[in-house]
Assembly symmetry: C2
Homo-oligomer: 139 residues x 2
């Protein structure tokens, strides 16, 4: 059984999960990479270090962001089309604060630790879809 | 601490996990979607139904495949550059058998159930990288 999630159900998933995957594309290469995020209902906030994903998203800011949850054969997933926006100054500080707050509230919460040139960014949602797939009981 | 995984460590991760994400790109759109897979050391086998990801991979078979594991602040992840190959006849049957075997061996294992036109495909590995990130202990 496949069901579309409404926005409230999608938001529940996005607030419950902590790991998402950014999909980006530049120069003929598609790249998918996991990130830890905070979510405020309009955008995903990420704190990372300069590297392949940042270079690619600077070259082509049209990205996909994906979050899923798989348990005992059932899925919930959300797929976002969005725009990469790099943050600096006060905006970068706010992103870091959101992430610190998000992770401080979890067991084993840790402040992100940079190894390399730190980069804060957000992915602003243009379009979002979600679905749930419930498999039949085992036979 | 960030460490590169060697191929044996990557294979351990790929055999332990069951959910990966396909990243594909066509007509200016990048799309990331979760799939359940079986892995034989050279390719990922997926059984799905026709839809957006299949249409996009038919248009552009150069895809990314991503698997990750996040636990208590530590990561392992593998990122694959690969090629989409659609399977039919005996090859599709073999893919389905691999998946059935993979999931029969897990608690709650289920046979994939199609809703729509079924499609079996594999993603053949061209290049694979893996990394582990271990965060510092909470302070």
């Amino acid at each position: 059984m496949i069901a579309q999630l409404d926005r409230e159900q999608i938001d529940d998933l996005l607030r419950a999960q902590v790991v998402g995957r950014v999909g980006c594309h530049a120069d003929g290469l598609t790249y998918v990479v996991p990130v830890i995020y905070a979510y405020d209902g309009e955008a995903f906030y990420v704190y990372t270090v300069e590297g392949q994903k940042v270079r690619m998203m600077r070259a082509n800011p049209r990205v996909c962001f994906e979050v899923d949850e798989y348990e005992a054969g059932s899925w919930r997933s959300a797929i976002v089309q969005g725009r990469y926006e790099e943050l600096d100054g006060a905006e970068a500080e706010r992103a870091l604060a959101r992430l610190a707050e998000r992770f401080a509230s979890r067991a084993g919460g840790r402040r992100p630790r940079a190894e390399g040139t730190p980069v804060a960014f957000r992915i602003v949602i243009d379009e979002i879809t979600g679905r749930a797939v419930r498999r039949e009981s085992p036979t």
